[in-house]
């Protein structure tokens, strides 16, 4: 048996231990490879949307890489710790330290090469599927499967260098002094209670403060809080795991009537030990999960913004023409022509908008004609309204202002033309995007309107509204108009532009695809995080498997039934899985409370539904993962020896 064969057999025969580590590595490599396949895709080039997609993928790659580095380091350390006894024996038998390091190096490279190989292979297998998903989301032309050296080189290069560095650095973690200690392995040197009461209380205070601030936040201070809260909560979380929890558990242990009940004695004392060993890991898992929740939640809330887009933009196309717009007729005809050619039904209404000074408010008021409003309103399926001469209705700028305006009854004189009207109530339907006609707008009876029109000669602007039932299909309509607008923006000649054109359908498809793409990227990343967090716990369990087994044997002899044993294991595992999870959930819920304030100010939308969806999705995944790992753990611990 050569030295290399020995290393190889070590890995292959220890595959149970290596399985979780290997799986998580493979998954990281695979996701990394998928992103790179897209990054280097030959048929992707140019375009704002593609830029966003590529940037998203690039950032995701970077995050993934950094995270994988941490993950590998951490798991490697846990591994080597679990094998201290084995190393002790090897050293005892006369293996040199140098050889031991080489052994670890070869082993790590073996696993690394294996996971890179399997990861890229799986990645390549899944890339067609991945492209199809991306294609559907990004609405790119079909992406053919391609073969090029670049994604392979990037993935293999990135991960191979990572594994090499780790395998060179990892042996440093093994304490090669004190042979007998190595052979005895873990478990003999349990430190006694080591927490600071002050830091424990400080942790609780910090968390309490962060939560209070987050829930009490208002528009004025929210920006400051965004910078203040994360470090506050992070520090609080750290102390919470290292000191507050041990402190609280210690308080609990003092109350024997509560502590000496059934399995609590076993479960809690075991929990304290686990907590002490893993406090830092719990902290990392909590922060990572919080970030994952937050990013997915934010992205999901952006998607929610997209779905509420229609309510905010009820019209299919909008063309606004200001005085001096020589292109008006040509552009409108072109739009109608393009709609017809695309087979899209539409209702076209032209709104001349007049402006007058209102004697009541001393402000300018925009005026539209009742018959045009009715024309559009009927197209929306509403009933036509009637107004007598001298009567008017408010036209609410947003749906939320309707209630307030509807209760108003105002007499005013439109000063330039001298027409006096009574404005009683508001127009009940939302036909325009917010503030389209002006913040202060009224609807007049046709006769009154004509009287003012003849006085002011030409309208302030003409609002051309297209109501298109199939509004999402308009993304290729009016491209020439948009291009010439974009051109004048680039040339800085917007002041010469006497019109504006808005295509909500097109905007919607851009916003929606961007957000879904980011969401997709975020979900993949969160998937990696999730897997890694679970693997951390699994490794930890594995490191203590020997002593756990022994304990199980003692308990079995003492007469613990199978069900009781399961209960004890549950009580030990559940906190490890769900306390970091729960804290992360709590963190992100409060963070979203803060974000909701921003959203409210921005777009009047609620992100609650999306969040509940995202968070419960993650929780379900975590529960499944818990059962999976518990099943493995129980199986390991019952096979004695």
């Amino acid at each position: 048996m050569t030295f290399r064969q020995f290393a190889y057999r070590n890995v292959v025969r220890n595959r149970r231990i290596y399985a979780a580590f290997f799986m998580a590595s493979v998954f990281s490599v695979m996701v990394f490879f998928l992103y790179s396949m897209l990054l280097f895709h030959p048929s992707i080039e140019g375009g704002a949307l593609r830029d966003i997609a590529l940037l998203g993928m690039g950032v995701a790659e970077l995050i993934l890489y950094i995270f994988t580095t941490f993950f590998l380091f951490y798991s490697m350390r846990a591994f080597l710790q679990a094998r201290t006894k084995e190393f002790g024996i090897l050293l005892h038998l006369g293996m040199e330290k140098r050889q031991l390091h080489r052994l670890i190096f070869i082993e790590t490279i073996l696993i690394g090469a294996g996971s890179i190989g399997v990861g890229t292979f799986l990645g390549y297998m899944f890339s067609k599927f991945f492209f199809m998903v991306v294609k559907r989301i990004v609405l790119l032309p079909a992406l053919p499967l391609y073969f090029s050296w670049e994604p392979f080189a990037l993935t293999v290069g990135a991960f191979l260098s990572l594994f090499i560095i780790i395998s060179l650095v990892a042996p440093v973690f093994i304490r090669t002094d004190g042979l007998d200690e190595l052979i005895r392995g873990e478990g003999s040197g349990q430190k006694t209670e080591g927490f600071s009461k002050i830091r424990g209380i400080l942790g609780l205070i910090l968390l309490g403060l962060s939560y209070t601030l987050a829930s009490l936040t208002s528009n004025n201070i929210v920006i400051g809080l965004i910078f203040l809260l994360p470090p506050l909560a992070t520090l609080g979380t750290y102390f919470f795991f290292t000191d507050s929890l041990p402190f609280l558990l210690d308080l609990f242990k003092g109350r024997k009537e509560l502590y000496w009940r059934h399995f609590r004695l076993l479960a809690i004392s075991e929990g304290v030990i686990r907590l002490k060993e893993n406090a830092r890991m719990f902290f990392i898992v909590t922060i990572v999960s919080t970030i994952a929740f937050m990013s997915v939640g934010i992205l999901a809330s952006l998607t929610s913004f997209a779905s509420q887009y229609r309510e905010v933009n009820p019209l299919g196309l909008v063309y606004v023409s200001y005085p001096g717009d020589i292109m008006e007729e040509r552009n409108i005809n072109r739009l109608r022509d393009e709609l017809r050619r695309n087979g899209l039904e539409y209702t076209y209404v032209e709104f001349p908008v007049l402006k007058q000074l209102s004697s009541f408010t001393e402000f300018t008021v925009s005026i539209v004609k009742l018959s045009t409003i009715n024309q559009l309103s009927v197209a929306f399926g509403n009933e036509a309204l009637q107004l007598k001469e001298g009567e008017a209705l408010f036209l609410p700028p947003t749906s939320s202002t309707f209630e307030q305006l509807n209760s108003q009854n105002v007499e005013t004189v439109l000063e330039e033309s001298g027409v006096s009207v009574r404005v009683n109530g508001a127009f009940p339907y939302q036909l325009f995007p917010a503030h389209a006609i002006g913040t202060n707008a009224i609807i007049l009876n046709d006769a009154d309107f004509e009287q003012i029109a003849s006085f002011v000669k030409s309208p302030s602007f003409v609002y051309h509204a297209f109501d298109i039932p199939d509004w999402q299909k308009t993304k290729n309509i009016g491209l020439t108009i948009e291009n010439s607008m974009a051109k004048s923006i680039l040339e800085g000649t917007t002041h010469e532009l006497n019109y504006s054109f808005d295509n909500p359908g097109r905007n919607y498809s851009i916003i929606r695809t961007t957000f879904t793409l980011l969401l997709f990227i975020g979900l993949l990343l969160a998937g990696v995080f999730l897997l890694a967090a679970g693997s951390f716990i699994y490794f930890r369990l594995y490191t203590s498997l020997d002593s756990d087994r022994k304990q199980f044997d003692v308990l079995r002899r003492m007469g613990i039934t199978d069900r009781e044993f399961k209960k004890i294991v549950n009580r030990q595992l559940i906190p490890q899985f769900f306390v970091p999870w729960g804290v992360a959930l709590l963190h992100s819920s409060f963070a979203f409370l803060t974000l909701q304030v921003i959203w409210d100010a921005l777009a009047e939308i609620s992100i609650v539904r999306e969040l509940v969806f995202v968070l419960s999705g993650f929780t379900i995944l975590q529960v499944i993962y818990f059962y999976l790992i518990r099943w493995r753990y129980l199986a390991h611990i019952r096979t004695s020896g």
């Binding site: 024997k256 000496w260 059934h262 076993l266 003692v554 002899r557 007469g559 199978d562």
Partner: protein
């Protein structure tokens, strides 16, 4: 001769045979008969591989005999299902192990009350019992220490406390002095003897050590899974010890076989 004239059998093994099926069929116990009276302190001796551990495992209902009958306090463990069996063990047995096996995350006091917490006794009762036992076991000073802060003797005394706290019918000790120095071993053996006297506790102890065996009322020798000999104690421990050595030498020159595995 049993000390109490009124016979009260607590444990009875009839023609117990245990065969391990595997690649090699191994007959660990062969038609072994054994009885223990209430309040007896019995040592089981035999060379390595003689079936001592199997014997103890069968008594402690961890293992079931292939043939034969086991009756413990009038109950046949074979008639119980897994759950009932666990509860049966919990209520009737106290265990003392060679490698002590205290739970490292519990204090001495908590280790001792562990069996009681599983049965949900009132805390006041637990405290009362711990107080009484810790006097007897001289553990008062160290009740709040962790197992890794104890000497071997202290740790094993704690384990004895854990085995006694729920007042079991039978205490099963597997090489309780195997990992102790001679002074601690003496301490623990005297303690077991004392408990046997004062509490009338029945103790069955598997051991390699003739000195340990000489503290008992009776020594059962087994060899290759079969009954080999049985001797009762006499007036002086020294002569009893000598007689044990004699039997051991008959057993096949394994007197010096003090290995534990």
């Amino acid at each position: 001769m049993p000390k109490n004239t009124i016979k009260n059998t607590i444990l009875e093994l009839k023609q117990v045979t245990k065969i391990y099926e595997g690649k090699v069929i191994h007959r660990a116990l062969n038609r072994l008969d054994f009885e223990a009276e209430e309040g007896e302190f019995i040592a089981i001796m035999g060379p390595s591989g003689s079936g001592k551990t199997t014997f103890l495992n069968i008594i402690s209902t961890i293992d079931m005999p292939t043939y034969g009958q086991v009756v413990i306090d009038g109950i046949e463990p074979e008639s119980l299902n897994g759950n009932e069996l666990a509860l049966f063990r919990r209520r009737n047995f106290g265990f003392v192990f060679q490698d002590i096996n205290l739970l490292h995350m519990l204090t001495v006091e908590e280790n001792i009350v562990l069996p009681l917490t599983l049965d949900g006794l009132p805390v006041s009762e637990m405290k009362r019992r711990v107080a009484r036992l810790s006097d007897q076991l001289t553990l008062n000073e160290i009740l709040n220490r962790r197992p890794d802060e104890l000497s071997g003797g202290q740790a094993q005394r704690t384990a004895v406390g854990r085995a006694l706290i729920h007042k079991p019918k039978l205490i099963l000790a597997d090489e309780p002095t195997g990992n102790l120095d001679s002074k601690s071993a003496k301490e623990v053996l005297e303690l077991l003897g004392h408990i046997n006297q004062t509490e009338r506790a029945t103790i069955i102890m598997v051991t390699h050590d003739p000195i340990a065996a000489s503290y008992c009322d009776r020594v059962l020798f087994i060899k290759d899974g079969e009954f080999f000999n049985e001797i009762y104690k006499d007036e002086r421990r020294q002569t009893f010890f000598q007689r044990i050595l004699n039997v051991l030498s008959l057993l096949g020159g394994n007197v010096n076989d003090l290995r534990t595995m």
